[in-house]
């Protein structure tokens, strides 16, 4: 049943665009010890596509996107990012990580560096950009996330929402082709969620390829080309936001949606 829906979703996306896939996950399996956390996960993301991944906690959605830049290693199956296959080849991994930006639930800014230094470190040392150019670029992105005036402060002096926007700017400074968001608003107070979501909507409008793990259904409806629903390590349903939210085909998704709606 789930496999049938899976194919349907992929056909839908393939019809939508002819661009080569930015990310391909092919029968990916992963175990934490005896725990089977990813089961035969198949997913293709086209260049410029925005995909929202949702599902109950423990469903493997974070693990899946962490496999894409190899913060976790998968044990079976194939992952291709920007045409390069993820393997133990370190050079391939470096090439992939240069092109894939990531935003974490707990921000993970470097507390001993200023906001500006956080943003320029990787461009200077990984992209070998001159310091001045890197700083100009950082200021440009900090302006775009609307906090240029905080550039010389330390992360600890900012609010949670501001820190997450710095984290987004920091990832963008590497000029990535793909952005991964791992529950970017889950650690934030309600009044700060909006400022981060607005930043992400703005980013989506620029045509960035994005995979976003989130429970923010409003964001998914507004931005996502496709919504992926995961449960117990499997991709259960894939479809447009309308298909997934208005016409869930599986009991598991129906149950999840009813819980989410009750929670809100």
């Amino acid at each position: 049943m789930s496999a049938a829906i899976e194919t349907e979703g992929q056909i839908a996306s393939a019809a939508r665009t002819d661009a080569p896939p930015a990310i391909v996950l092919d029968k990916v399996n992963k175990w934490f010890g005896a725990l089977h956390v990813l089961r035969d996960v198949n997913l293709q993301v086209a260049l410029g596509e925005r995909v929202v991944v949702c599902g109950p906690s423990g469903s493997g959605k974070s693990t899946m996107i962490r496999c894409i830049n190899r913060l976790e290693t998968h044990q079976e199956g194939k992952i291709l990012v920007d045409g390069i296959e993820l393997s133990d080849d370190l050079r391939a991994l470096d090439a992939i990580r240069r092109e894939v930006g990531m935003v974490f639930q707990s921000f993970n800014l470097f507390p001993h560096l200023t906001v500006l230094e956080n943003c320029t470190l990787a461009p200077i040392w990984v992209r070998k950009m001159p310091k001045k150019a890197a700083e100009e670029l950082a200021m440009e992105y900090l302006t775009r996330v609307k906090i240029p005036e905080q550039a010389l402060k330390y992360p600890g002096q900012l609010s949670g929402g501001q820190q997450q926007r710095v984290a987004i700017a920091r990832a963008l400074c590497m000029k990535p082709k793909i952005m991964l968001f791992d529950e970017p608003t889950s650690a934030l107070d309600p009044e700060m969620i909006k400022e981060v979501l607005d930043t992400m909507v703005m980013l989506a409008d620029t045509g960035m390829t994005m995979i976003v793990v989130t429970h923010e259904m409003g964001f998914a409806r507004q931005v996502a080309d496709r919504v992926v629903f995961m449960d117990r390590g499997e991709v259960v349903e894939v479809g447009t936001p309308e298909q997934v939210f208005n016409d869930p085909k599986t009991d598991r998704l129906q149950m999840f949606l009813s819980q989410i709606l009750r929670g809100h």
Binding site: N69, L71, R97, N108, L109, L113, A122, V126
Partner: protein, 381 residues
């Protein structure tokens, strides 16, 4: 719901904020709350005050009022210490320091050449001060250290630039302590960082090597390591090859301090949240970039207090080299009072030597406290 929790003050956003309740200030108020809060506290204050004043007065009497600062020397060059002995412990005989300080500071180094080790000590202190200044924390420190240490070697050994050659066996006193401590910590600290990183490495061979090193070295007393360096090590060397005794002791100290410091550094590495490693990885930083820019700067800041604790410990532990016959500051002090005329004046000598150790250790401790505040600016809001 709001009936219970709301009151006029919180409901009105215009309400003026209340200031914190007033607390009494000033020395009298402080004394009243801390020293004379009740009859028991008053009694304890008075008793302790009496004891402290008695102890301080006793020390002042001994160290200054009844003290003898110099004694006559007879024609044979033997000090006439009868006046000191007549004091029978009621006053300090600082004459022993006046008379013997050159020996305590420089050991058996040729007397007329004492300016050389004295200059060495000054160079060391200057090197510490320059290294402590943030302004010099860049590549210029490397030539500064190399230059100073070469100058120190030239001064101590001589044999060039018209300086008479002085064999290492005749060195002693404060320069030995400073050489052992400075070289010891300057080499042990980088070594410890590598070992701590190695212990967390994914490569099994490196990890096992680092664990073995730390556990083996840490598991034996420093004294036994020094003995091995002094007695056993030469047995393994080919015939005719000889490595300086001081150098062997120095290596033993570096290895020993390295093992201890490695565990301190590892504690700092352990304290970093996993997210810092992941963020650095996700940005594509290489292992050494990640380690140098993200991990070590944070880890080392966290462990400044235990690091300096270990530094201070090793500064004093250099005195253990006495067991293999090297004359450090403490041993030189002890040897100074072997002479019959000065026997029995150990307290004065140990107070003098102790003060020198205290000056160095206290400076380290004060500096590290300042460094901690300065480097942890980012934690302030």
């Amino acid at each position: 719901m709001s009936d219970v929790t709301l009151n006029a003050a919180t409901a009105n956003p215009e309400a003026t904020p209340r200031s914190a309740p007033l607390t009494a200030v000033g020395p009298i108020a402080w004394a009243r709350t801390n020293l004379f809060a009740g009859w028991l506290s008053t009694a304890v204050t008075l008793v302790c005050g009496y004891l402290i004043i008695r102890a301080v007065m006793g020390f002042v009497d001994w160290a200054f009022i009844n003290a003898i600062w110099s004694v006559p020397v007879n024609a044979n060059g033997v000090a006439q210490t009868q006046a000191c002995r007549d004091l029978a412990g009621s006053g300090a005989c600082w004459a022993v320091v006046t008379e013997k300080h050159r020996f305590m500071l420089f050991g058996t180094y040729p007397y007329e050449q004492h300016w050389r080790p004295a200059l060495v000590c000054i160079l060391f202190v200057a090197l510490y001060i320059v290294s402590a200044l943030k302004r010099f924390w860049n590549w210029t420190l490397i030539p500064i250290w190399a230059g100073t240490l070469t100058a120190i070697g030239v001064l101590m050994w001589g044999g060039v630039l018209g300086l008479p050659y002085v064999p290492q066996e005749r060195w002693g006193g404060l320069p030995i302590t400073l050489i052992l401590a400075t070289f010891g910590l300057a080499f042990a600290f980088p070594l410890s960082i590598l070992v701590a990183l190695g212990r967390r490495s994914n490569l099994p061979a490196i990890k096992v090597l680092c664990v073995l090193y730390v556990e083996l070295i840490r598991g034996v007393p420093l004294i036994s390591l020094l003995f091995m360096a002094s007695v056993m090590f030469p047995l393994f060397l080919p015939e005719g090859m000889n490595i300086d005794k001081l150098l062997r002791a120095q290596i033993a100290i570096i290895l020993f301090a390295g093992a201890y410091l490695a565990e301190v550094v590892r504690a700092g590495l352990q304290s970093l949240p996993k997210g810092q490693y992941e963020a650095a990885d996700a940005m594509g930083l290489s292992y050494w970039q990640k380690t140098g820019f993200i991990i070590l700067p944070q880890a080392l800041r966290t462990v400044i207090p235990p690091l300096v604790n270990t530094f201070i410990g090793f500064f004093k532990d250099t005195s253990l080299v006495l067991i293999i016959g090297i004359f450090d500051l403490l041993t030189a002090g002890k040897t100074a009072i072997v002479e019959p005329a000065w026997q029995g004046f150990g307290i004065e000598v140990y107070v003098f030597v102790g003060l020198i150790y205290l000056v160095f250790c206290f400076a380290m401790s004060k500096y590290s406290a300042g460094l901690e505040t300065d480097l942890n600016k980012h934690r302030r809001r």
